[in-house]
């Protein structure tokens, strides 16, 4: 399941909803991405996430489908927020549930790596020096390449 929303999400509530009444799940992994302050050298007052409505949903569904093709997953959830957020706020939630822990861990990590490099979101930071667009990290492409040998 995927959701793209302005509103915050509740990690515990989402985990509960996803596993409710099920006894075939042995492992649940959640990943929460949050707005991190840059510290004293680079204080952040807010971050605004812009996205490509329509394409975002399609990309997240494609990524989710690919994870479910690669690993035996009982349930998956991706929630990504947009709009203006402050340090400490939630940005993204990924949950994977499987019979076994390795599938749940790997799929959650895979979902985040693919989302980071493919979901059409852009972050603009507002800090002491005004506004600036966050630049993509080479590390994210490197993280993605871990999964490509398996394609």
């Amino acid at each position: 399941m995927i959701r793209v929303q302005k509103e915050d999400f509740d990690i515990g509530g989402e985990v509960d909803a996803l596993r409710k009444g099920r006894t075939d799940i042995g492992a649940i992994v959640s990943f929460t991405g949050t707005v991190r302050d840059g510290g004293a050298d680079n204080p952040l007052s807010s971050m605004t996430l812009e996205h490509y409505a329509g394409m975002t949903e399609q990309e997240l569904e494609r990524i989710e489908k690919e994870a479910r093709r690669r690993w035996p997953l009982a349930e998956t959830l991706i929630i990504h927020r947009y709009g203006t957020l402050r340090p400490g706020d939630n940005i993204v939630l990924v949950i994977t549930a499987s019979a076994h822990r390795q599938a749940a861990f790997e799929a959650a990590s895979f979902l985040m790596d693919y989302l980071k490099t493919n979901a059409p979101f852009w972050k603009k930071e507002t800090g002491a020096d005004g506004e600036s667009w966050v630049e993509a990290k080479d590390g994210d492409d490197a993280a993605l390449s871990r999964w490509e040998a398996e394609d």
């Binding site: 394409m55 059409p120 979101f121 630049e135």
Partner: protein
């Protein structure tokens, strides 16, 4: 037949356009040709689309490569590398 162009993040800010309808000339056949064509539309476009290595394009809401055809395209989006998550 027109195509809808969308611009995001600093590509939107620097071109000053978020959305427009464009009648594409028939000689523009793929993404590489489209970027070259965009560069000719004025100084802001020349500056943005001159950064060829950093401009990403989606054709009908799918990530496109430089050789992706525009044949039948209805919606084309221009943006920098994504930074979500």
């Amino acid at each position: 037949m027109t195509v809808k162009f969308l611009y995001f993040a600093w590509v939107r800010e620097q071109t000053g356009i978020s959305e427009e309808e464009i009648a594409l000339p028939p000689e523009v056949k793929d993404v590489a040709g489209l970027i070259a064509w965009q560069r000719e539309r004025g100084p802001e476009f020349a500056a943005v689309f001159g950064r060829d290595e950093i401009i990403r394009v989606a054709v009908d809401r799918k990530h496109a490569l430089r050789d992706t055809t525009l044949d039948g395209a209805r919606e084309i989006a221009f943006f920098p590398p994504v930074t979500g998550g």
